[in-house]
């Protein structure tokens, strides 16, 4: 949710702190900040608060609680007027399924003057990345971004009247029914999509809770409006938006289930704003709300429970202060051992349902930095790591035998278990065995072996991983070759899910290793050269190796001394040198040059290069 700091400031008498302080306040007490740019702050509202916080009002309320600064006015606490213009004779609303449309308020506004919005409104919308369209459309967008209620304005003259009466319908689309939206895209619909219709003609005029239709667009010539402030079911709206691949500010809000009570507040705010900036007269309002939502049930929590969950030592006053700051109605009653708080959530705080929800409010508003770090008390007995240690013991055995452990992808071209929605269409299945992956890894490893192993070391790989044959998944151990020390019967694979690894691991301590900082490896080809030389007996092999390394320079990435024999009082030493660059493909000529340099230097040092 993009908010404008200037817009937030309109909620407060006291000046707000600077942007960094506001960002910190949200980050440590409510929500992460995705992005900050001048006056704009993109707040990542958490899913459980998206019902009330996808709005400037909701975020101002949060900030008020966190900073302990009162709101100047709260539009959601201003009582809704008894509409004295309720007029079913001007407009009627027919809802086909009240589970999918919980509430529909419609208002008829006559004689508006469409024109540009006032500067403050244009500025407010542009500050949060919205484009100004005209005063009426801007008013609906502004109020949505301000209090969280999606709204829509239809041009009433583009709808039909029957016996002087407009009729709005809310119904499921018919298979293959079409609609052209405000932006001119045509959608072919399916039955699970809810439509707003001109019920007198049954023509679709909007995708319910998502986007308006072109046919009833408010344009420069519009004079009369029908304003919609409704509540559409979250799941229905989300599925519809998904199937149309059309996610809008409205659908995002409805899928998070704002309270249907909010519709009346949204309507009041938008009618006030429209008549202020576009003139006109509200001549009728209809409120189709078959099953009004009663006030939210009370939630009780004790001070003891709060401290038991948080591991804190908060006082009664600290907790009450949190409720006050959040504007939660509460009553406290002291019992013999603890104080109990009974909280009545305001209608928009649909997230406050169980005692733990209140514990979270206390924890985050006081601040999790006030929760101490306490070590767990010791636990009787030995922690059960036997199976883990059994598996690690197998791995240690293999590493001792020279095996390198690899990890490969679980997806495969073919298999017994297939994904309904693969990421890569060429890899739609789950591996039934590690065999192919380990052998592919070996083939590739052979190409790179001189980079990682000495010439005489044999390249051997293993993997421990889950496989999914039709008999059911198990953890497989797969090696590229047998381990002869493990006996005649040992093959190249083992089912570790059936092996009795608990006994094998129970008393074993897996070998620990430390790693140094990651050294990126080059993706360019390498070149291998061998060199052999005669040296006098007693020559230090290590120093000879270092000398060659120095002479070869930075293109040398590995050197192995791999062959030694003595003849007639002299020793022959063979070295294998591997050259590679991080930046480019080396040429033979270049490496030949380096080798020449190495030979010359060795000769100068008195060694005979063979």
């Amino acid at each position: 949710m993009k908010v404008s700091l200037k817009w937030l400031q309109t909620y407060f008498d006291a000046p707000l702190p600077n942007a960094e302080a506001i960002a910190d306040a949200y980050t440590f007490h409510a929500f992460e900040i995705d992005e900050m740019q001048g006056d704009m702050m993109d707040v990542k509202v958490l899913p459980n608060r998206a019902a009330d916080c996808l709005s400037h009002r909701g975020l101002a309320k949060e900030l008020s609680a966190i900073l302990d600064t009162p709101l100047k006015t709260d539009p959601l606490r201003q009582p809704i007027p008894m509409w004295d213009i309720v007029s079913p004779t001007l407009l009627k609303v027919e809802i086909e399924d009240s589970k999918k449309c919980v509430r529909y308020m419609g208002a008829v506004v006559k004689s508006v003057k469409i024109g540009p919005s006032p500067a403050w409104l244009i500025e407010a919308l542009e500050a949060v990345g919205q484009r100004s369209i005209n005063n009426v459309v801007d008013a609906t967008n502004y109020v949505m971004l301000n209090v969280g209620q999606p709204l829509h304005a239809f041009d009433a003259n583009k709808l039909t009247q029957k016996e002087g009466k407009y009729a709005i319908g809310v119904r499921g689309a018919r298979e293959d029914e079409k609609i052209v939206t405000l932006t001119g895209e045509e959608f072919i619909l399916t039955q699970n999509i809810q439509l707003i219709t001109d019920a007198n003609t049954d023509r679709a005029i909007a995708l319910a809770g998502i986007k308006g239709g072109k046919v009833a667009e408010v344009t420069a010539d519009t004079t009369d409006l029908i304003i919609e402030s409704a509540n559409f079911d979250g799941t229905t709206t989300r599925r519809a938006a998904q199937s149309l691949k059309l996610f809008t500010d409205a659908s995002l809000r409805f899928q998070n289930r704002p309270s249907p009570e909010l519709a009346a507040y949204g309507m009041r705010e938008v009618l006030t704003l429209i008549t202020e900036i576009a003139g006109g007269e509200v001549v009728g309002i209809v409120d189709e709300y078959p099953a009004p939502v009663a006030s939210l049930p009370v939630v009780t929590v004790s001070l003891g429970k709060i401290n038991n969950i948080l591991g804190s030592d908060f006082s009664c006053e600290e907790v009450e202060n949190v409720f006050k700051r959040l504007g939660l109605d509460y009553a406290s009653s002291s019992g013999p051992s603890t104080t109990t708080f009974t909280v009545t959530p305001p209608f928009e705080r649909t997230d406050l349902v169980i005692p733990e929800d209140l514990v979270e409010e206390v924890g985050r508003i006081i601040g999790y930095d006030k929760v101490p770090a306490t070590e767990l008390p010791p636990l009787a007995g030995v922690p059960d790591q036997a199976r883990f240690r059994g598996i690690e013991r197998m791995k240690d055995q293999l590493v001792e035998q020279g095996f390198i452990e690899v990890s490969t992808q679980s997806f495969s071209k073919k298999g017994d278990v297939t994904l309904a929605n693969p990421l890569d269409k060429n890899m739609p299945a789950l591996r039934t065995s590690l065999e192919n992956n380990v052998h592919e890894a070996l083939t590739r490893a052979k190409l790179n072996a001189p980079l990682v192993l000495s010439p005489k070391a044999k390249l051997k790989l293993f993997e421990v991983g889950t496989v999914f044959p039709k008999e059911g998944e198990f953890v497989e151990l797969r090696m590229t070759e047998r381990v002869s020390e493990w006996g005649e019967s040992a093959g190249t694979t083992d089912n570790l899910s059936v092996a009795k690894l608990e006994d094998y691991g129970k008393d074993y301590t897996p070998k620990r290793r430390t790693l140094g900082t990651y050294q990126p490896f080059s993706l360019y080809p390498f070149i291998v050269r061998d060199i052999a030389l005669w040296v006098p007996t007693g020559t230090d092999v290590g120093r000879t190796t270092s000398y060659i390394q120095e002479q070869a320079g930075e293109l040398l990435v590995r050197i192995d001394q791999f062959d030694t024999f003595e003849k007639e009082g002299r020793i022959s030493l063979a070295f294998r040198l591997v050259f590679q660059s991080m930046e480019r493909t080396l040429t033979d000529e270049e490496v030949n040059g380096v080798m020449m340099q190495v030979s010359e230097a060795l000769k100068k040092a008195g060694f005979e290069v063979r």
Partner: protein, 245 residues
């Protein structure tokens, strides 16, 4: 000529984590990667029509309704809590290191398959608190990342925990400036989760946590790309100086 091979960095990291957590009383638990809807979602208080169940995040299995590739190793926590309910144990602490799957495009910081270091601690009411979660991670990070590591909580939301937090670690690489890094999600197990396991939320409470294991390893050693981990490329094993302890 005999030579010694090399473990994968994931194995090395799990061994370190298992050892540190074992000193705090945690065992190591495993569970299936091909999970049922109950253990991956429903029991964990992720309701039927939650967006997480939509096609875009979860890998579903063709022809097997209700089967998924687990999207988190918290499914193992659920299985262990169910065992606890059956056995009548009053407390349990486990880490669940294992592979999980997310149906999202891969890049240098996202893989469709990765490891999670998930875990939980439960005990009688009041005995395992959010303060213990903080104490546990404070110690884990100091022992894993070094003595300068610090832990910080921020508010978050997960269906299976209430309250929920993000856990950040303060990490100072040698010779570089330190910074706060997001490493795991955590919180106090939601009473519905305790109830779904067959335990009494009035009597049992505890914390649960989970975060990407590769991410911890990437932070600690400065690895730039998560895709190196499961590429089967042996050069990755050898891209570090390795010492035995």
């Amino acid at each position: 000529m005999s030579h010694v091979g090399r473990l994968h960095p994931i194995s090395i990291a799990i061994r370190e984590a298992a050892e540190i957590f074992s000193r705090m009383g945690f065992g190591v638990a495993y569970g299936p990667e091909l999970e049922d809807d109950w253990h991956n979602f429903t029991a964990l208080n992720v309701p039927e029509d939650h967006p997480a169940r939509d096609m875009q995040d979860t890998f579903w299995i063709k022809g097997e309704k209700g089967k998924v590739l687990r999207t988190h190793a918290t499914s193992v926590t659920m299985r262990k809590l169910e065992e606890m309910a059956k056995s009548g144990n009053a407390e349990m602490r486990m880490i669940n290191p294992g592979k999980v799957f997310r149906n999202e495009a891969t890049d240098a910081t996202h893989e469709a398959q990765f490891y999670q270091l998930d875990g939980f601690a439960v005990g009688p009411t009041g005995s395992v608190t959010l303060a213990h979660l903080k104490g546990t991670f404070d110690r884990f990070y100091r022992e894993y990342f070094g003595p300068n590591a610090k832990v910080r909580f921020r508010p978050s939301f997960f269906g299976f925990t209430e309250p929920s937090v993000e856990i950040d670690v303060w990490f100072e690489p040698a010779g570089k400036k330190g910074q706060w890094l997001e490493t795991a999600g955590a919180g106090m197990l939601h009473p519905n989760v305790i109830k779904n396991a067959g335990l009494d939320p009035e009597k049992v409470q505890g914390f649960a946590f989970g975060g990407g294991l590769e991410r911890l390893i990437m932070i600690k050693y400065g690895i730039p790309d998560v895709r190196l981990f499961h590429s089967g490329d042996v050069r990755f094993n050898y891209a570090f100086e390795e010492k035995k302890i």
